[in-house]
Symmetry: C2
Subunit: 132 residues, 2 copies
Amino acid sequence: MDTTQWPLTYRRDCPSRTVVEVLADKWTLYVLAALRRQEGPMRFNELRRALDGITQKMLTRTLRALERDGLVSRTVYPTVPPRVEYALTGLGAEAGKLTTAIAEWSAAHVPEILATRAEFDARAAAAPRPVT
Amino acid sequence: MDTTQWPLTYRRDCPSRTVVEVLADKWTLYVLAALRRQEGPMRFNELRRALDGITQKMLTRTLRALERDGLVSRTVYPTVPPRVEYALTGLGAEAGKLTTAIAEWSAAHVPEILATRAEFDARAAAAPRPVT
DNA sequence: CTGCATCCAGCTTGATACTG
DNA sequence: CAGTATCAAGCTGGATGCAG
């Protein structure tokens, strides 16, 4: 398979894929959106409460990945009990703008999409795969 | 847990989450980007060739999900051999604009992010979790 | 409070073979 | 060409317990 003519993005070994794979994640999207909305640092449990349904494990993992890529900063205050704050970096704020756009677009088109989806499912239930 | 004060997006049962979960997917992102780039319909195997590394199964599944939500249209030409074309709908074009933005942003910041990532990994290897 | 470690069920994915 | 079917494997994510 000759891939030399393609845009880098579509190539299996393009490094940008590793970045996309971090961003193209449900929890990443919501974490960035929440931090962006807050317009300031948030504590671990504050984020957890904000993102209904996320487990401690997934929040930890997601934040770690974002920290690793420099999208989120992690600041530890050596107090008792410990206080850890997460904030968007400049890079994270940019990425957050993009993920927020997706969240907002999704929310805006929910009725439309849900209707289409229901119709599709109804057709699928009626006929196994109507051609055209 | 009282979630009544939160933006809908962050609630576990918000329907927009089901939409986000379709978009926040690696292959969805690339499929939309490829169709958008093409500026016209693409055949199944054409898409497959364009997206290095995708399996037939995942491409089928991804296209089906996009079709279900009305982001992509599927047209079957009853010829032999069959010819099936996929194209963005108006809605899909909008979504594609957003996912393309993510792909491009990722590509643009790869050097920066890869460097940050390497540094993070180096630190992690050196010290188990340096506070601050 | 902020996590890490572990166990484990189940969904996702890849590989492969087959069909209209 | 454009899929469907199947099976195994691997990763994801949830639950729980514990620690600094």
